[in-house]
């Protein structure tokens, strides 16, 4: 049997470093996709009024983002972090490190920001926890990276071509985080006021091959651990590009490539932040407002479930007649 992708460490970070090293000269002149995402991230940052004196920039491959952060009022330090030294050349303080093993002490930064960084870490919950650790209380995490349906056209045609030519398929396009999971991950990592949203960006290419070139230039070609062991054959690639044109080309002959960019925002908890009241402390009876007798809901679970008494099956509903749910607005 072929070795499968390790479900715990799907990405080969060493390979990623090689790819970034190779792509460094082009990345540093600014890839259009990075610039676009950086611009959108800076727009969001502009809505946050307070100064962020000490900022950590993850995967600092976009000069525009660094410049934008440094230009903010009240910024004293923008520390750039990347796993490849070639991307950190130039002026300004910088650190070579892996996002998965951040070398920072507790409560050091007012903000941690980054684009195109968190989609290729093996342990996203662990990385988020480390980011929270090095943020000061009330510090901001703002990250943008591809998620969900990114490159779905390419994923589809590679799968089809490989099935057609070889009768089997290896994973080629990385698994991405879904929007719903992203918010849950933020919460699980202990961020307050977590928000995850997405912005689709569709790039239209004259040729599907140009998409691959672009991905190469951005060091975004596959780094799945299993992939290194099973290279993509030329015939399969050619068939995939043919299928790409057949299935997705529009009237003008161009082919679209979808990037679904997730934006994650979260704050390190601080007493000044708005939060829900403890359960049971509310003063408005929700049941009364909904016009239903308390505890009168329906339960869809059947009574035959393993070892579950009727009482346990009902536990999702208010068990006391006076149970109330209240949310308080920011104070």
């Amino acid at each position: 049997m072929r070795p499968m992708t390790d479900p715990v460490r799907p990405f080969d970070r060493r390979l990623l470093r090689l790819r970034r090293e190779r792509a460094a000269p082009r990345l540093r002149t600014g890839s259009f996709l990075h610039e676009e995402i950086a611009a959108r991230l800076l727009e969001r940052l502009a809505e946050i009024r307070r100064p962020l004196p000490r900022v950590l920039e993850l995967a600092a491959a976009c000069p525009r983002l660094t410049a934008g952060l440094a230009a903010r009022e009240g910024t004293e330090l923008v520390l750039r972090l990347d796993n490849v030294p070639a991307l950190l050349a130039g002026s300004g303080p910088a650190v070579v490190a892996e996002e998965e093993l951040l070398p920072f002490g507790a409560d050091r930064f007012d903000a941690v920001l980054g684009i195109m960084s968190l989609h290729k870490v093996n342990d996203l919950p662990g990385t988020l926890a480390q980011i929270r650790y090095c943020l000061k209380p009330d510090g901001l995490l703002l990250a943008a990276f591809p998620g969900g349906g990114t490159l779905r056209e390419l994923r589809e045609v590679l799968l089809l071509a490989e099935l057609e030519c070889l009768g089997g398929a290896a994973p080629r396009v990385a698994p991405f985080v879904d929007l719903a999971d992203a918010a849950a991950l933020l919460q699980r990592a202990g961020f307050a006021l977590p928000v995850a949203d997405r912005e689709p960006i569709t790039v239209r290419y004259r040729e599907p091959l140009r998409l691959l070139r672009d991905l190469q230039a951005m060091a975004e070609t596959g780094v799945l651990a299993a992939e290194a062991r099973r290279p993509l054959r030329r015939t399969v690639l050619m068939r995939a590009l043919e299928l790409y044109r057949e299935r997705f080309a529009t009237e003008d002959g161009r082919v679209p490539a979808t990037f679904e960019i997730l934006f994650l925002t979260g704050w390190k908890p601080h007493p000044s932040q708005p939060r829900p009241l403890p359960p049971g402390s509310g003063e408005i009876d929700l049941a009364a407002h909904l016009g239903r007798p308390p505890g009168g809901g329906q339960c869809s679970r059947t009574s035959g479930s393993a070892g579950g008494s009727k009482r346990a099956a009902n536990s999702a509903q208010p068990s006391r007649p006076g149970a109330r749910i209240t949310l308080r607005n920011s104070k």
Binding site: P85, A94, V95, V96, E98, L101, P103, F104, G105, R108
Partner: protein, 81 residues
């Protein structure tokens, strides 16, 4: 200082921010060898062109006699100040 005479100095603000990525423990700045030393992890992280390289697989493993034992570390830190 002959070895490191041409090396650009490390930004002093970095020394305040950095810890060992593995242990999250303190680092000792070895000016002579131009390294950041984690006694807890037994690793020395190189500084290249003024940029600390905090990658575990690029770090130098300390010899046993190099690491400062925990009971002496506090004294040593005070000496540095």
């Amino acid at each position: 200082m002959t070895e490191t005479g041409n090396e650009p100095p490390i930004d002093p603000r970095l020394l305040e921010l950095l810890v060992c990525p593995l242990t999250k423990g303190p680092l000792r700045y070895d000016r002579l060898r131009n390294e950041l030393v984690s006694d807890q992890a037994g690793l020395a992280y190189p500084i290249r062109d003024g940029i600390p390289v905090m990658l575990v697989d690029e770090a130098r493993r300390l010899r046993e006699d190099e690491a400062i034992p925990p009971e002496l570390r506090a004294e040593r830190d005070e000496d540095d100040r």
